[in-house]
Amino acid sequence: MPHTLTISQLTDKLAQGELSSREATQSCLDRIAAVDGQLNAFISHDPEDALAQADAADAALASGKSKPLLGVPIAMKDVIAVNGHPLNCASKILGDFNSPYDATVTEKLREAGAVIFGRVNMDEFAMGSSTENSAFGPARNPWNPDCIPGGSSGGSAVAVAADECIASLASDTGGSIRQPAALCGCVGLKPTYGRVSRYGLVAFASSLDQVGPLTKDVRDAATMLGVIAGEDKRDSTNVPEPVPDYIAALTGDVKGLKIGLPKEYQVEGLDPEVKAATEAAVAKLEKQGAEVKEISLPHTQYAIATYYIIATAEASTNLARFEGVRYGARVDGASPEEMNRATRGAGFGEEVKRRIILGTYVLSSGYYDAYYLRAQKVRTLIRQDFLNAFKEVDLIASPTTPTPAFKIGEKANDPLQMYLSDIFTISCNVAGLCGISIPCGFSVSGLPLGLQLLGKPFGEPDLLRAAHAYEQATEWHTKRPKIG
């Protein structure tokens, strides 16, 4: 069953000639046919195109070529541009738009030999924590289809957890990779802001967005990061920091690594099972040789408010381009204003409209200083909290989410409650850090739980080292949902 393999397992078998990329790709396609009717992870996919890429990879393999992802089927969140393929951002407003260009990360995957296939489901324009805000219907948690898979990269997490692909590429603005990874039981990595090019990633909140992988284990996350990281002249916010060998960081040894536990993360509403699993995971790391100590992040309580001001402000203008003049769906009107109103009224979903209105409000003349400017100042303080903490510790550990996956519809009418579920993941984006979520147990009801580790800017090697060491000592990541 090639679709159940990890990247490293599959590339080994491809190199040995035990398996072809066509077989692996076909296996994923068959799996989609078998389970995706129930899970709705894929918005669309093009089997012919995928198999053609697989055949090209097989030809390259046959000629002795070796590349990190040669022949590996990778699913793309519907917010990353792939030349000639639909780019909907899980919204109605883009209509039948196909991207005429490749994102930089797409180019990098191609250079690494990946078979890029499928547009995976998400919250519309990456706004949400449950994938319920998709114009293409909600994706479902493979561990319990009545539950949400998390969001906004819910489809990416489902596709990986349900073995519909080998790995997936997604984006994280406030936890959109790590939260669904935790809720679906896979590994989700958000790189440091500036580590990975944003060119071709449809912007939600430009100063917070970052592309990262969802994978079946930590080694695969390291492989994927090695492929997509690096300088890109097309993204001015990209940092020209050299890319280290992330696989080499996976030593299995955490001796002397200092892990901090923020005392402010003992929040109300933290599920006892989640709390217990996190504590057990930290204890495990301690037993493996890490040093654990309490730290303080005094501005934690302002993170959610800060995030929702900055993210919505940026989103309100990033999404201004969707009005049907040049591309996408258009609803005609008697004047340009009426056409705008009609197109955007019909094209955007409720959550997207809510955030555009919020962002428009906080940028309005007379409110700018009180909201946007103040949020930027608090952002600096939050970042400073972390930089201070990282003088004492190498990593910070916490639960990824306060609770396991909730039921579809449970919080759909309570946006504030939904926003609060991002409490542990949001600060990482606000402060521009790197973070990872790895499986660390299951609830009594059989839902996966995630441990989050946060690292300093460009501290991905330490992050991956600790995550990998923990993974080596546990078996949570090998568990698969029974489905199909």
Binding site: V79, I80, A81, L87, C89, L94, F97, S99, P100, Y101, A103, R198, Y199, G200, L201, V202, A203, A205, S206, S207, K233, R234, D235, S236, T237, A313, E314, S316, T317, A320, R321, F322, E323, V325, R326, Y327, P336, E337, N340, T360, L363, S364, S365, Y368, Y372
Partner: protein, 474 residues
């Protein structure tokens, strides 16, 4: 009561760059609609801007030419408004940290020199161009993302003519710097005019009226002059003015209200998160400063002083910088620079107009005109022959002395040879000869003409006159 006008101008000028501000598309006028476009400049989902280094450099240079400071920190802001020609529905501009600040422009006005303070010259991007047809509209995005320099004055201008002269001086400066072609027909210069009036002696400003999107300097002058009269008229009749935006109707020659302050846009400016601030190093600023050239007014003053040219000649060379550069090389070491100037402005200019070429296409050395003038001054050739030599120089590129030598055009100054020509002329024309002897001075010119003709124009005219007088008088 007497009133005075207070005028400030915001002038938008397209920069002359190879490519657009944020992408690699050509910055080129006149291409077929929507051919100079790419994902970035039509605002496709997912694209990001990358600043054009040439535009940043030309902006700094423009600022220096306008005597502005170039701060070590500038940033980009989004100006949000919906319009079909605005691909992202926000325009990238510089709100509170512009690339250049606090300068001035000096220009001639009336008898003296005026100084207008410049508040800032900042960089932004142009938008597309809408065209309206009978039942639909089209947008051409070739212009979208072209770098645009906005030059904002302080309210230092006091009448319409002064505004007009300032604009011409600004245009000359930017053209001089190679910053912009300032081609009005191509829409490369657009102007917003802010006008208020107040009783003379009052310090606070009156209610400001903005006239937007003027695309000719004469239009600015007419509109400003109309608007000043209108505002004074309203106040004289006891009316009040409101802060508003008005449109200039060029055909009718009046301004009409477009919108008042109440329905002004809220542009929701905020720093663009896709771009890093521009933080030029001291080295970079010094490098740009090294390329600062002489300004038109300074050049005019220098040309007048160094070459003893009259103001009108100096203005010709300031107005056509390439011709001026050419003149300065040609006049190097010339005893009579004014004569060189005449050749450059008249003969050379006429030839260039005739052939449609430029000074860069000339086949002869730039020093050749100076040499030609010297040949005349030294009586080697006369000025009529000089015209022929010049034509030949223009055709073949040969040096004037070479042409004179090859064609045997040297002036005949040998008195024996000239005397023979004179005697022949007198013998062949006894009538005019007698007339001269009888005191009719003009008859000498006829005889002189005959001698010149016989010598194929090479005779030294001055000597011929003297010889004829001598022969006829003896």
């Amino acid at each position: 009561m007497t009133y005075e006008a207070v005028i400030g101008l915001e002038t938008h000028v397209q920069l002359r760059t190879r490519t657009k501000m944020w992408c690699g598309c050509a910055n080129e006028y006149g291409a077929e609609a929507n051919t100079n476009v790419c994902p970035v400049c039509i605002g496709l989902p997912g694209v990001l801007p990358v600043p054009n280094a040439e535009a940043l450099r030309k902006t700094a240079l423009a600022g220096m030419l306008l005597n502005c400071d170039v701060p070590s920190y500038a940033k980009w802001d989004r100006k949000n408004y919906f319009y079909p020609d605005n691909p992202k529905n926000y325009q990238l501009t510089q709100l509170d940290f512009p690339s250049t600040i606090e300068g001035f422009v000096e220009f001639e006005f009336g008898e003296g020199i005026e100084r207008v303070r410049i508040n800032r010259a900042h960089l932004e991007e142009d938008v597309g161009k809408s065209t309206h047809f009978s039942d639909y509209s089209g947008v051409d995005f070739n212009r979208a993302g072209v770098p645009l320099l906005e030059i904002v004055t302080e309210p230092d201008l006091t009448d319409a003519d002064m505004a007009y002269d300032y604009l011409n001086a600004l245009k000359a400066i930017l053209e001089y710097g190679g910053v912009s072609d300032c081609n009005m027909e191509k829409g490369q210069v657009r102007c917003d005019v802010n006008i208020s009036v107040r009783p003379i002696g009052q310090t606070e400003l009156g209610e400001k009226v903005e006239i937007k999107n003027m695309n000719s300097f004469s239009g600015v002058r007419r509109a400003a002059s109309y608007e000043i009269e209108r505002q004074i008229g309203v106040l004289r009749e006891g009316g009040t003015l409101v802060q508003e935006t008005r449109r200039w109707d060029d055909a009718v020659g009046i301004t009409e209200s477009m919108r008042t302050k109440e329905d002004a846009h809220d542009y929701r400016y905020f720093p663009d998160p896709d771009l890093m601030p521009h933080t030029p190093s001291e080295e970079w600023i010094a490098e740009v400063r090294a390329s600062v050239m002489e300004l038109p007014l300074a050049r005019k003053q220098r040309l007048m002083a160094d070459y003893q040219l009259p103001a009108s000649d100096a203005e010709v060379f300031v107005g056509d910088a390439a011709l001026g550069d050419y003149f300065e090389v040609a006049a190097k070491g010339a005893k009579n620079p004014k004569a060189v100037a005449n050749w450059v402005m008249n003969n050379l200019q006429a030839k260039l107009t005739e052939t449609g070429g430029s000074t860069a296409d000339l086949k002869f050395e730039s020093s050749a005109i100076g040499e030609l003038v010297r040949l005349v001054e030294d009586s080697k050739i006369n000025s009529r022959i000089a015209q022929d030599v010049f034509s030949e120089m223009f055709e073949s590129g040969k040096a004037p002395a070479v042409i004179v030598e090859e064609k045997g055009l040297s002036q005949v100054s040998d008195s024996a040879e000239l005397e023979a020509f004179c005697n022949e002329a007198i013998e062949a024309n006894p009538g005019p000869a007698q007339d001269f002897r009888n005191g009719k001075e003009t008859a000498l010119n006829f005889l002189k003409g005959q001698v010149m003709k016989a010598s194929c124009g090479k005779a030294n005219p001055q000597m011929v006159g003297e010889l004829l007088k001598k022969i006829l008088g003896s």
